[in-house]
């Protein structure tokens, strides 16, 4: 069965193009075309931003009104910790997505706590557990993507920790010379 998607044809074609070029010796023409598509075709970036905004709004709408402001402030702090203001476009996109995935995890945890506190069928409990696992997986995956990008494109980027484990060891950080900021995913 085909996976349900809201992505349009242009997005799917771009994804296919990236898959085709991703090998050791891509044709120089293809790489130039890809660079151009990245720099000139703003529709893809806008689409990613729009989808992120849509998910963010839907998730915020699920939260009880009295905690929305607190969650909003926490999200802003998270983006700041990850260096949103001084990051290039690709990292900003990832940081926004980290925020949305964090919010999704938070909302899913809240729903799990509320719904499993009521009488619920085993099937229902299992479905919510699967949902929670998927939310955690998405959150970690996007953190890993940010780490990958920073490790390769900005060797002196900040330190990112998942739990107690440092996942990016890019750029030598000498004690006393440069203070590495630490971001953890223990939410």
């Amino acid at each position: 069965m085909a996976k349900k998607t809201t992505n349009d044809k242009a997005t799917q074609e771009f994804q296919a193009l990236v898959g085709e070029i991703n090998h050791e010796n891509p044709a120089a023409m293809d790489v130039v075309a890809l660079r151009q598509a990245l720099q000139e075709d703003k529709a893809l970036w806008h689409r990613a931003g729009d989808l992120n905004y849509l998910a963010h709004q839907q998730l915020m709408g699920k939260l009880p009104p009295h905690i929305r402001e607190g969650v909003h402030l926490r999200l802003e702090a998270l983006q700041e910790e990850l260096g949103y203001a001084e990051s290039p476009a690709i990292e900003r996109l990832l940081i926004e997505q980290i925020g949305t995935c964090w919010l999704n995890l938070h909302v899913t945890q809240l729903f799990c706590a509320v719904l499993t506190g009521q009488t619920m069928s085993m099937k229902g409990v299992e479905q919510w557990e699967r949902r929670l696992t998927a939310a955690q997986r998405r959150y970690l995956k996007v953190i890993e993507m940010l780490t990958q990008v920073r490790r390769r494109l900005r060797p002196n980027a900040m330190q990112v920790n998942i739990g107690t484990q440092q996942v990016n060891v890019a750029g030598k950080v000498e004690a006393g010379k440069r203070k590495a900021r630490s971001v953890t995913s223990e939410e």
């Binding site: 998607t5 090998h23 990245l38 992120n52 949305t100 999704n104 899913t108 494109l153």
Partner: protein, 97 residues
């Protein structure tokens, strides 16, 4: 679920589907049946809430999966444009290029 009126009296029945057929199960009449109907009503209400929460969650999850797929493509494209490629799941920089 429902009340059925037969010969001037109300009887409560539960309905369920089995193999494409609807099975009607007699519950009773009077206060006991009213209690069973109220309990069934609450259960239905809870199930409807669960269904709504699940449907909303699925809609957001689909959007999140789409963003992740698109972002992953943009990340890959950015790294490929910088001379990287994946080899067995690991990003490698092209040696002579």
């Amino acid at each position: 679920m429902g009340w059925e009126k037969r010969r001037g009296r109300h009887y409560y029945y539960r309905k369920r589907r089995e193999g494409g057929r609807v099975i009607s199960e007699y519950v009773g009449t009077g206060p006991a049946a009213e209690l069973a109907a109220a309990s069934d009503g609450l259960l239905q209400e809870r199930r409807a809430k669960e269904r709504k929460a699940r449907a909303e969650s699925e809609s957001v999850e689909m959007i999140l999966d789409d963003i992740q797929a698109l972002t992953q493509a943009l990340v890959r494209a950015t790294l490929i444009a910088e001379g990287y490629h994946t080899h067995r799941g690991q990003w490698r920089k092209k040696r002579h290029g």
